[in-house]
Symmetry: C2
DNA sequence: CTGAAAGCGCTTACAG
DNA sequence: CTGAAAGCGCTTACAG
């Protein structure tokens, strides 16, 4: 069943069917009704590949989301959907796996869907100017910036929190409450990822108060998985190193650690305080509830869309926007 | 940059470029190298819409996933990806929102991508024969069956657990451990969804032991959100109804309830036992760890793929496969 | 308001 | 091994 069949059955031309399907105003009510009746009777659905091939331009904005299971993205995506819709554009979303190339995915989508612009959610963005050249529409990176890339500020846009600063604040908070043996729980400290830049905030805070970051207080686990954090923490605890607090660079890691602590009979926060960054929903349901610095999810999404649309409509330049985090007080920080 | 440009620059025909790009064997090494050099130099990426339009058939299998944030699906999806790849097919995945029409999404994808078959993950599948007619390739519903639809067994395939039976077992377990005031926590009991069929298991178990399911022990919340479960439970607790256990029809609901209980000073499992169904990862990290009946995620995925491929290759008929759940013992069931 | 025709960027028999 | 040409299913000026 193609548009040709519908045309034949309705007794009109293919052009007319196309007009009806696309709600063009210049079709008589009579013909419109007739065509729609056939369309419904035969349950006709246009081929989108053909449609986007035929179109010379679209009103599509692409969203590439890295990491299918990250609960952290859910509300950001929702916000982005809403705002793009509201602005009169159409969202085309695609999820990619942790190991896939987001730039390639974006470049492909750009061609296939004739995108006007792109948003990358949760990408790494430690790219070079050459790599970025693969995509030729405006784009903004949401929730991560180019902290470890070599791009200058005039050639990309991003909306994110200040990871280092937030980590710095979190650790300072622990210090202020009297903690002096603060361990850091992270995933691969040298992968140019968020793990690394948050770790730098930890180091900065310790250094500032005259403490020396030591190797033995670094708990490095394999991934951001809750299970890996659990096993990693357990192994670290077996070393018997003294500590009175943990700064986890992500809620997910903190949740894994909490189980490990509990199994070892270490009471949070009496024996060990914990603070993290992210503010995903479920961490508030832990017992005790996790104290954490929340990313402003809705704001991240909204700001990304605004920025991109300005770029598309030539109303703005590339910018790197930093949004503040919000501390969510849970029950995992004690006063020493 | 199109295939035509590449052809011109390389000094060969469009057909030849296409052959190189698709790894056809009948191209001389010389030409292949020359073309690839140009492709790389110009960073050429083929247009997929045009590609699938041009092809008369593909080796694509579609996966429609309902509910972007459901952590329960992550490992199922991963398994499906692997198995489809292994069988020599190509996976095309799409996420849809809770309110979108999965059948429509499937039908569109079927045309756009020239699918050989489809897997629906987390759909409702309470469809009629007419509605199903929209899609004309074989498909299987993963993780939900047609319990409330009107399809006869010969026209659809599904792989799922036995929801009613599992709920029945869960409640019987609570009863066996001495609980006599068992509340049920569910989301909209009459929406033809999994909530309803699990609720029936609850009723069946109570009835079997001579207890009468009463209205006051039904905690019905708005959605499967953890937050809704939390608020709903809190409101229900305010009524002051006596109870000694909760059967939650989903882990997510149980987690929300646990926080509400804790805030009211009700100790789990001393004052109230809890058992749920699903077995998502994070519920094992609650304190206390949730006791729950796990869906066999990998098995669900694997079996769906096997079934679909048999259907595609005409080696099998439509079947409805029921997989057993596995009880994960946590710390939320006490003996009364 | 409607239709014929060109074109979107590919693939794929068909010849050679 | 390579190329010319038709075709995939749409859209969109261009005429009328």
């Amino acid at each position: 069943m193609t548009i040709k069949d519908i045309a034949k059955i309705s007794g009109v031309s293919v052009s007319t069917v196309s007009r009806v399907l696309n709600n063009h105003p210049d079709v008589s009510e009579d013909v419109r009704r007739k065509v729609m009746a056939v369309v419904e009777e035969y349950n006709y659905i246009p081929n989108n590949s053909a449609r986007s091939l035929g179109q010379s331009k679209s009103d599509n904005i692409g969203l590439i989301v890295r990491g299918i299971s990250n609960p952290f993205y859910t509300s950001i995506i929702h916000e982005i959907e809403q705002d793009i819709e509201k602005a009169g554009y159409t969202l085309v979303m695609q999820q990619i796996g942790a190991t896939e190339d987001e730039l390639l995915a974006g470049a492909m989508m750009e061609r296939d869907k004739r995108l006007l612009g792109l948003i990358f959610l949760g990408g790494r963005l430690d790219y070079t100017k050459e790599q970025i050249a693969a995509i030729s529409v405006p784009f903004v990176s949401c929730s991560s910036n180019n902290a470890y890339g070599s791009l200058d500020d005039t050639c990309y846009s991003s909306v994110s929190i200040d990871d280092t600063q937030t980590a710095y604040e979190a650790v300072k908070e622990l210090y202020k409450e009297g903690h002096r043996r603060i361990a850091v729980l992270l995933a691969r400290p040298d992968d140019g990822s968020v793990s690394q830049i948050r770790y730098e905030g930890y180091v900065k805070a310790l250094t500032e108060v005259g403490m020396v970051p030591t190797e033995d207080l670094i708990m490095s686990v394999d991934s951001y998985n809750i299970a890996d954090a659990y096993h990693g923490t357990k192994a670290w605890l077996d070393k018997g190193i003294a500590f009175d607090a943990i700064f986890a660079i992500a809620d997910n890691l903190a949740m894994g650690a909490m189980r490990a602590l509990r199994e070892k009979g270490i009471i949070v926060p009496k024996d060990c305080s914990i603070v993290a960054i992210d503010g995903i929903e479920v961490s508030e349901y832990m017992a005790p509830a996790l104290s954490t610095y929340c990313q402003p999810m809705e704001e991240l999404g909204k700001t990304s869309v605004d920025l991109l649309i300005d770029l598309i409509e030539k109303k703005g330049e590339h910018r790197q926007i930093i949004l503040p985090t919000i501390f969510r007080e849970g029950e995992t920080i004690a006063v020493r």
